[in-house]
């Protein structure tokens, strides 16, 4: 049997190796990965919005707050690297701890499948790094649930940390963590219910309170479930895609390998092997395989629901009554728990294959090797930043110049073109990326947050966006914007759809132009003034404080009692 310290070293090394192979291009030079929703900036100025105090829907609360604080100390490019590499290593270590009583090759199989699968590829390519981190926390939720089942009085601490960290990553990650904890931890012992409910609510207050108190939110559900439903990647159909952890709605980010029916079906063979190995993987934890199987099956159903006939309409009807269900519109992301379950099962499959090795059947070792290597063989394009597609970029210097100008003369900024929130900057090789302006520039920065689908437009969630749209359509946009409380217009050049707005141009660079509207007339305190009332502010702050205390107390108790990091059973 491998010594605990050595096992941890092996698991960390294997996880770090995979992280380096996947994230390599980001690590070998300066700059950022900027694509899809992945936006990091050198120094993200502090704003109340990062804590959900702007009355908008808390999509990145409180992760934006933590990133903002971190970038006051170290450059954003370092923060990006630390979060991605750290997430991969801790995620790999977590699933290795779930199957800690297995040999190194079995743990390696689990780590490889967790970190190298179509779900990881597709979420990375779409830039949803926080969702990816939330997924990598899930193995620690499995471990925490095990502790809660064994001893609710002591297990709460790990549960608080795991669910709390997941909730920080994103609201949907927090929800997934709570559901996973409930499925895996709740027994007839009422204390397990109490721990799950208390930790689940307390840890998620950090985004739950801003969501419930948001004053300017109008979540549209009309048609969005169908637009964001999981899709078949190949001729094999939807189910094989989902069973092999693929099937994202945005088919344009699919690796070509996933469009091959044969490869998707081969990937399903790995899924079958992992499912068959699940019971063996957690044999020392009676009944856990059933819970894991239920969790994986539930994830599959949630991911598939909007894609099956009538499913989208059903969820849409439900979401009109329960607005919180709008969270499910990108249902494929909720396939994440299945990834953890299959990774766990892969360890059992590898161990089971090893146990069949005997004289005359030594070649079964190659089956063990195949189980370990299969995720890579089936999706080699994940290596080296999606086969070199993901290249680093650096912001032009003028972004800092504009940020300095706005810091000296604060005021609400409207970013043009007012046509969706994704940009294709020349300096970023034209890759589609979420506009960095709200994170790069100080003060209130408004971009068009409507979601433009192929055949429909999902209305903006923030009514202030509609106010700006009407102002830009007015005969005198500058006057209308001033009346709405806008002082600055930032024009991102080289992009179509920019409306001419009269004002004093205080910066006119190669890629950006900053127009001051104030010289043309008084800027009123208009409807674009964000923020919440004092009562709501107190509630939101209390929510953050309770979540923080929950996580910190759990962390302290976990450290005192001994951690899974030490590979101790």
């Amino acid at each position: 049997m491998t010594r605990p310290g050595r096992a941890t070293t092996v698991d960390v090394a294997w996880s770090a190796g995979i992280a380096l192979v996947v994230l390599g291009p980001l690590l070998v030079g300066p700059g950022y990965w900027l694509f899809g929703d992945m936006v990091f900036v050198p120094h993200q100025p502090w704003k109340p919005a990062w804590l959900g105090l702007d009355g908008a829907l808390p999509r990145a609360v409180p992760m934006d707050a933590l990133v903002s604080v971190a970038t006051q100390v170290v450059p954003g490019s370092w923060v990006q690297r630390a979060l991605l590499v750290g997430g991969f290593v801790l995620g790999g270590l977590g699933v290795a701890r779930v199957v800690r009583d297995h040999a190194w090759y079995a743990r390696a199989a689990a780590i490889t499948l967790l970190l190298w699968n179509p779900w990881v590829y597709e979420r990375l390519l779409i830039g949803q790094w926080a969702i990816l981190l939330g997924y990598l926390v899930l193995p620690w939720v499995v471990l925490a649930a095990r502790r809660v089942r064994d001893d609710p009085r002591r297990g709460w601490a790990q549960a608080a940390v795991a669910v709390g960290v997941a909730a920080v990553c994103s609201p949907s990650s927090g929800v997934m963590a709570v559901v996973a904890l409930a499925v895996l931890a709740v027994t007839r012992d009422r204390r397990t219910w109490l721990v799950t409910a208390t930790v689940g609510v307390a840890a998620n207050l950090t985004w739950l309170v801003p969501a419930l108190t948001a004053e300017t939110v109008d979540v549209a559900t009309d048609g969005v479930f169908e637009g964001f439903a999981a899709r078949a990647e190949s001729g094999a159909g939807l189910l094989p895609s989902l069973l092999s952890l693929g099937g994202i709605w945005k088919t344009s980010v699919l690796p070509e390998a996933r469009t091959s029916t044969i490869l998707v079906l081969l990937s399903c063979l790995l899924t079958v092997a992992a499912a068959a190995g699940l019971r063996r993987a957690v044999r020392n934890h009676p009944g856990e395989w059933r819970r894991l199987a239920a969790l994986g099956l539930g994830a599959l159903v949630v991911a598939a629901l909007p894609a099956v006939p009538g499913g989208a309409g059903l969820v849409e009807d439900l979401a009109e009554r329960l607005p919180g269900l709008a969270l499910l519109r990108d249902s494929h992301r909720f396939l994440a728990p299945l990834g953890v379950v299959l990774a766990t099962g892969a360890a059992g499959a590898a161990t089971a294959a090893r146990e069949q090795v005997r004289p005359g059947r030594e070649a079964l070792w190659s089956v063990v090797g195949l189980i370990v290597a299969a995720p890579v063989l089936l999706l080699p394009v994940l290596a080296w930043g999606a086969g070199g597609e993901l290249e680093r970029s650096s912001y032009p210097r003028e972004w800092d110049e504009v940020a300095d100008l706005l810091a000296d003369a604060p005021g609400t900024v409207v970013v043009l073109p007012w046509t969706g929130s994704y940009r294709g900057y020349g300096w970023n090789d034209g890759r589609a990326v979420l506009d960095p302006a709200p994170r790069y520039l100080p003060g209130e920065v408004l971009v068009d947050d409507r979601v433009l689908l192929d055949d429909q437009v999902v209305p903006a969630e923030d009514p202030r966006v509609e106010v700006v749209r009407r102002a830009l359509a007015a005969d005198d946009p500058a006057e209308a914007l001033r009346a709405a409380g806008v002082r600055w217009v930032l024009v991102e050049k080289g992009l179509a759809g920019v409306v001419a707005v009269a004002g004093e141009t205080v910066h006119d660079g190669d890629g950006l132009a900053l127009v001051d509207l104030e010289p043309g007339g008084e800027v009123s305190a208009g409807p674009l003034d964000g923020g919440t009332g004092s009562g709501t502010t107190v509630l939101v702050v209390v929510g953050h404080a309770l979540s923080g205390v929950c996580v910190l107390l759990g962390f302290g108790a976990t450290i005192r009692r001994g951690s899974d990091l030490r590979h101790v059973t």
Binding site: F35, L125, G227, R231, W249, K250, T251, S252, V253, L254, P255, E256, A257, T259, S260, I262, L263, L266, L269, G360, R361, E362, A363, L364, S366, V367, G369, L370, A373, A374, L377, L378, L379, P380, V381, A386, G387, E389, L390, T419, G420, Y422, R423, G424, D429, G430, R431, A432, V451, L452, L453, D454, L495, A496, G497
Partner: protein, 45 residues
């Protein structure tokens, strides 16, 4: 038995690599430059 096992494992691994390699050679993702129309449309295509 060893020969049979090795053959099956080898065929599976080689098949996956070969098909994946051919597919990867034939196409790529949309992280390359996109047109404005594709950029602004949160499109599946």
């Amino acid at each position: 038995m060893n020969l049979i096992i090795s053959s099956i494992v080898g065929a599976l691994a080689a098949g996956a690599v070969a098909i994946g390699g051919v597919q990867a050679y034939q196409g790529s993702t949309d992280q390359k430059p996109v047109s404005d129309a594709e950029l602004y449309t949160y499109s599946s295509e």
